[in-house]
């Protein structure tokens, strides 16, 4: 299309599903190996070598799942919204597909963060669930994800679905800071914080390093799943192009 | 030669893995009536919705007075009167109230012709009854009344004669012919046999789509 003339070359290339399919094909094994090593190594480190917390004992080891998943769940939403915006503004198909692939991953990771948090809460606070600021905003994030998924699956036309979810994701993005802010306020106002997540002593290095490994591992894992889903999506949508035909019949 | 009013180039549309039309190109000039033909499901409505700017499920180019349609959306909409399968009549409002709203939304609709238009479509005496008590044909006549009030040069009419009785059809055909004579452009679909003869140019979608 004529309007795209001014865009840099890489943008063109990225916009080409075929190029994207090829490049992800090359990147996939690299990230897969990295994710495997980091996650397995990180888990071993976390479970076996890292010292127990002096307050919470060994239940503290949940942090190595909990925090990476919590972080990932949030950044995944950002990515989804940004990709959606690109798709909406520049009509870039690949961006739409990326956004679509983000939603289920993000939702499952958010569920993981919630579940590990809840499990951690039982030994620490004595309750599976408390209406604390962070937990609440995580729950709301999950709702945002579910909304995006539901909307996407409810609309039959792929193009329309992508555009509609992009609008929703963007509106949600505006709301995330507002939600965070409001929930923080609400909590400090209603309920004397019996337990705050931030007021813990700064973490020791030997506890912190495996956490870092796990966080990076989670990101690599995210990249792998993202690419797997993206490639499926590309095949599905480009099914009538000649290169996909060759790919399938060959 | 002057530039065509509406220029369609290489239009392609596919729904559910079924190609409705491919490489569809035609021009529409001032004073022309173009009937889009085709059997049920051949893509007439789809085409008209694309041309009116409602649907973006297409590839190809559409020009309005030589400008791509998406870069002159507002000017295009100002010149357009669209009549769809759903006539856009609110059931709880009266015919008069419905037409007033149309006039508020479309500056090309001349409200001072309200009574004239209602009389023309045979709804005098029904101005003040809610439309849901009207018959099927009367409901569509409310929306057709816009044709008598409109100054828009381009009319896109999707089966305007559905549910209209014979007298009404004849009247509307005359109106369409008159609009074309005055330099207007009409794109329409209908399964009725039109009596306008050679005034009409036909675009057949059956052959394009390769359906029987």
């Amino acid at each position: 299309m004529a309007e795209k003339k001014w865009m840099p070359r890489w943008f063109y290339q990225l916009a080409s599903p075929r190029w994207c399919y090829q490049i992800t094909g090359k990147l996939l094994p690299i990230f897969a190996v990295a994710a495997l090593i980091l996650l397995v190594g990180g888990t071993a480190w976390a479970l076996i070598y890292a010292p127990a917390d002096y307050q919470q004992g060994n239940s503290f080891r949940i942090i190595y799942i909990h925090v990476p998943s919590a972080i990932l769940a949030q950044s995944c939403y950002m990515m989804m919204a940004v990709a959606g915006a690109i798709g909406l503004i520049w009509k870039m198909k690949v961006a739409d597909m990326v956004a679509k692939a983000c939603a289920p991953i993000g939702a499952s990771i958010a569920i993981l963060a919630l579940a590990t948090g809840a499990i951690w809460g039982k030994p620490t606070w004595g309750a599976w669930w408390v209406w604390d600021a962070r937990l609440t905003s995580m729950l709301i994030l999950l709702f945002l994800y579910l909304g995006v998924i539901a909307l996407n699956s409810a609309i039959e036309s792929e193009q329309t679905a992508a555009q509609a979810t992009a609008v929703l994701a963007l509106v949600g993005l505006v709301n995330i800071p507002i939600i965070k802010y409001s929930v923080d306020w609400w909590n400090t106002l209603h309920q004397p914080a019996t337990f705050t997540l931030t007021e813990r002593p700064a973490m020791a290095m030997e506890m912190w390093l495996p956490l870092l490994v796990m966080v990076i591992g989670f990101y690599c894992f995210f990249a792998v799943v993202m690419m797997l889903r993206l490639r499926n999506e590309i095949i599905q949508r480009e099914r009538r192009s000649s290169w996909v035909r060759e790919l399938i019949s060959g | 030669m002057s530039t065509p009013r509406l220029k369609i180039e290489n239009l392609f549309c596919e729904r559910d893995d079924r190609i409705l039309f491919d490489q569809l190109s035609f021009d529409v000039n001032e004073g022309e009536v173009v009937q889009i033909e085709g059997q049920n499901g051949s893509g007439k409505t789809t085409l008209l919705r694309i041309l009116s700017g409602l649907s973006r499920h297409y590839e190809g180019d559409i020009y309005w007075q030589d400008v791509p349609i998406h870069s002159c959306a507002e000017a295009f909409r100002e010149s357009l009167l669209y009549f769809g399968h759903q006539p856009g009549v609110k059931a709880v409002l009266t015919p008069e109230e419905n037409l007033r709203w149309f006039a508020a939304m479309h500056p090309t609709i001349d409200l001072s012709k309200l009574d004239y238009a209602l009389a023309k479509v045979g709804l005098t005496g029904y101005e003040d009854v809610p439309c849901h008590t009207l018959s099927a044909g009367q409901n569509r006549r409310v929306s057709l009344a816009r044709l008598y009030m409109s100054n828009a040069p381009l009319w896109i009419l999707d089966e305007p004669f559905t549910a209209i009785d014979k007298k009404g059809v004849a009247q509307n055909e005359a109106l369409i012919a008159e609009h074309a004579e005055q330099g207007g452009t009409v794109l329409l679909t209908t399964h009725h046999e039109l009596a306008m003869g050679d005034l009409i140019r036909r675009v057949n979608l059956d052959q394009l789509a390769g359906t029987s």
Binding site: L47, I109, W120, V225, I248 | -
Partner: protein, 59 residues
């Protein structure tokens, strides 16, 4: 090594249930996330291959 014996490792200072449950859930989520797109891929490929065959037959 923060654990002396394997039993201690399993017990996690009395919090074994919680810790292992968390890691199990994490494992399940990770595996599902990997398996789901892979199965989807297989399905898409067989479906498209069938479509191609059908089209070839038709023409």
């Amino acid at each position: 090594m923060s654990f002396e014996t394997f039993a201690e490792f399993i017990d996690m200072g009395g919090h074994g249930l919680y810790v292992w449950l968390s890691y199990a859930i994490a494992l399940v989520v990770i595996v599902l996330n990997i398996v789901n797109p892979l199965m989807q891929k297989r399905q898409i490929f067989t479906e498209q291959a069938r479509r191609l065959r059908r089209e070839k037959q038709a023409s």
